[in-house]
Point group: C2
Chain length 514, copies 2
């Protein structure tokens, strides 16, 4: 009988080949968003479908099943071979999980899904530009139909939405999220009520005057470098919608956008995507191709971007060091502005139409709107054609405002055209995780606050590398959270953090301590 390490070595080699195919596909997608000429869209959809179908077929092939069955008990999904270390056991548990899911999906389905999503994204771009939902509706309907088909293949215990959610946040369920979101909503609406009662709210006009775009980009790059983002293993480009993509820990790319009249857009895109980029650059290179070299979940990924963007990038500690630098970049605009006033401007709270521009208090209300719409869609309580109306209703209910244009409403996000239903809740999970991680980082690194005040961001990066990035998928999200913080997921750390900061900015902090 062969040594299990031989089977494991053979398995790793096959996984590596599949990872190369997936990352080739990721480059094709990156290029589609950044450089591809419009006429190339149909061929690109075919190329992407071919690569993803091939990667899927190679993964569910009998050779991989044979190797896995030498190493894993299919009844428990856990490693059953002797002499395996904890890393190998985790690798096998996660590979089995992926394999079990993947083989439920027929090759032909992957091919159709990939092609339709690539095409739908291109149609969505055009429909959004023209504010023409009906132009995009047929593609959206196709995607929704494909998602019902996917749910049938994958199966579920409680709610059909769980099948989709599990793709992005393994183990998360509707029944877990609903009470969590309800508590969060109450806390946020209370906070919003206090903000609305404030007689002299901070003014953010200072952020929306002309700022030279080259200087904005230079400052964004400076912050990225200080965060420890490695430009020898990455690059910063412009794109319509900022994103991070990775083809290996040695090639992790972030994008931003820049508007002359909008200082926060470029700045926080850089920091946000930089947080994602640090995660991908920090993954264990030796584990590349296996689940131990992969990000744990989208919620954990988002925790990294939001921690840097908000907990760090909108803090007084951060601007203690960086505001004097920013003043040197923009002396005319900021030379006579105080750091406190600038910090307050960055933390103003105001319901608005666009999720990615939302403040920290209203951001998660945007997510709840999307979560409820997706639930209704998957429960077949609403059809794709009725989404613009439902969107307006929910925006009114949660945020008290209604978009006039679908481009600023139901068509603002790329996710549904990408087939990524079930993705949005991971943004809120990311915010909750970020607050818990950031609290714990301060406990573990007592000098963290003063480090940040001095512009020394590497101690925080190192803590994140060590505690989160290097682990890959060794633990589940909830296990990782408990290992790091000793506590289960809760909304309280996030609400406490927000109450303290927003209370400080709006001058009602005492009320909360009463």
């Amino acid at each position: 009988m062969a040594d299990p390490t031989q089977h494991l070595t053979a398995l790793r080699s096959k996984l590596l080949e599949i990872q190369h195919l997936k990352n080739a596909a990721a480059l094709l997608s990156w290029d589609q968003e950044t450089h591809m000429p419009a006429g190339g869209g149909q061929a690109r959809a075919e190329q992407l479908a071919t690569l993803q179908t091939l990667a899927h077929a190679k993964f569910v092939a009998p050779e991989i099943e044979d190797l896995l069955l030498h190493l894993v008990d299919p009844a428990t999904g856990l490693a059953n071979a002797d002499g395996l270390d904890d890393d190998s056991k985790a690798l096998l548990r996660e590979t089995w999980r992926d394999f079990s899911r993947a083989r439920k999906l027929p090759s032909d389905f992957i091919n159709r899904l990939e092609r339709e999503c690539s095409l739908a994204q291109q149609v969505w771009v055009e429909a959004r530009r023209r504010d023409d939902f009906l132009h995009y509706l047929p593609n959206l309907q196709t995607i929704v139909t494909l998602k019902f088909e996917e749910i049938d293949y994958l199966g579920y215990d409680e709610h059909p939405y769980d099948a989709l959610l599990d793709t992005y946040e393994p183990g998360a369920t509707v029944s877990q999220l609903q009470p969590l979101f309800a508590t969060l909503r109450r806390g946020l609406l209370e906070l919003l009520a206090h903000v609305r009662e404030c007689a002299s709210p901070p003014d953010d006009q200072v952020l929306f005057q002309p700022y030279d775009t080259q200087q904005q980009l230079a400052f964004g790059e400076l912050v990225l470098r200080k965060m420890g983002y490695d430009f020898n293993r990455g690059r910063l480009d412009l794109s319509a919608h900022p994103f991070t993509t990775s083809f290996h820990p040695t090639d992790v790319r972030v994008t931003t956008r820049v508007f002359e009249q909008d200082l926060p857009s470029c700045l926080f895109s850089c920091i946000h995507e930089g947080g994602h980029g640090l995660y991908d650059q920090g993954l264990a290179q030796a584990q590349y191709g296996t689940p131990l070299g992969e990000a744990l979940s989208l919620g954990i990924h988002e925790s990294q971007s939001r921690l840097w963007e908000n907990n760090v990038g909108r803090s007084k500690a951060f601007w203690t060091h960086f505001f004097p630098l920013l003043q040197q970049y923009f002396p005319a605009q900021l030379g006579s502005v105080s750091m406190d006033r600038f910090h307050a401007a960055l933390n103003t709270v105001k319901p608005s139409l666009i999720r990615v521009e939302a403040d920290e208090v209203t951001y998660n209300l945007h997510i709840m709107v999307r979560f409820e719409i997706e639930l209704a869609l998957i429960a077949q309580q609403v059809a794709a054609k009725d989404l613009p109306g439902l969107w307006r209703e929910k925006m009114q209910e949660y945020l008290g405002i209604t978009p006039e244009r679908d481009a600023d409403g139901v068509m603002q996000d790329v996710h549904w055209s990408m087939g990524a239903l079930g993705y949005f809740p991971t943004y809120t999970l990311g915010n909750l995780y970020a607050a818990m991680f950031f609290e714990q980082a301060h406990r573990d690194v007592p000098t963290l606050e003063t480090d940040i005040q001095r512009g020394h961001l590497l101690p925080l990066k190192d803590w994140l590398n060590r505690n989160i990035h290097q682990c890959g998928r060794q633990y589940s999200s909830s296990d990782l959270l408990r290992r790091i913080t000793g506590r289960p997921l809760s909304v309280e750390p996030f609400l406490s953090y927000l109450r303290a900061k927003i209370g400080d900015v709006y001058g009602f902090q005492l009320a909360w301590h009463a």
Copy 2:
């Protein structure tokens, strides 16, 4: 017994999947040259090797062999099924040719070759920058060893070099090229002697004064548009070394470079790459994935770029329309320059070190230097370590000059680091084909000269589309040449064209008619 069209349909479907893989690899290579961060090189080499190995394995798989053996007689390599049209017969002939070659190469060899070439290119870039041949020598030695291995797999009748040449120019052999090159050399050296005797040669200093780079790029784009290059199916980027790449006829990308003190560099890069781009955009979309939708050979490809660059772009007819426009772009530099003086400046002849900057008379002498060095290398008469010295000797022999730096000598071209030994002669073939095609185009389209004088370049593009691009690999190079021109390949049309133009510019035209 199944209908041959069923087998053919199945074959086309499999070829299409392989083409998608190859074009994904082409995008990874394009990205390596244009955007990839330096640290990503090792992972990229692995990804490229994976894709190419997979494409190769899928092509030589038993399923393809079975399909081919239903349709092709392996003894003749020709279609033997009844009821096939000429297109299908050509498709099968060429697919069998590719298949027969590909299956001689083991999968493991493809994997090693692709990885080593990707790495060697990256080392070459650095070595060239540092002018350090020894830094690059180990990679070059590896490539040469792999090429010997490849020759052993492929086999040959007369000369081992033929095995390599056949990859780029099917059917070409050393015994065919050597007398052709000898005749050409004599003609060029005679012409060069006349140029050297000229008492008042034209002055090209007007081309090498400061020209705004944005204006240069704008003019290059204008010419590309006038040539009929479709920007909805293409794009123009900057890169260190201009090139054209294609992922489908709907996504064909050209690059250029731009130097403030050098007007011809950007201008002729745009036109040259535009010629390649028109070929790739002009391939038959319905035949994509099959040999009928592929370029015929590198020589024919180069004929398209050189025809546009030289026969058109360095002609008086072309500048009759475009020089007044160029004067509007650069009034300070060109406002008081006559078109004749400008045309003469573009056609000055002077031996120089760098192939891609060479004039039309000396260009092919650069190719002969490389051809002879490659022949000596493949015949094992010289080792890789001795190439810098041999390069200097041959440059002295053919062009009468010697490079001081290897960066301007043996390391100036990317080809050897790409594993592309046997490629250089196709450049000279391209020049010879271009002269013959351009002559014939004038016969077929009597208004061509006046069209070009009026800036109407589409009649030429259409002629090339119809006669060359749309044919794909339906005919061999020599058959295509004979179909179009009625004549076999010869150096005379090229020499006549050069004698007329250079004689005109240098004032010795009468001597040639004597």
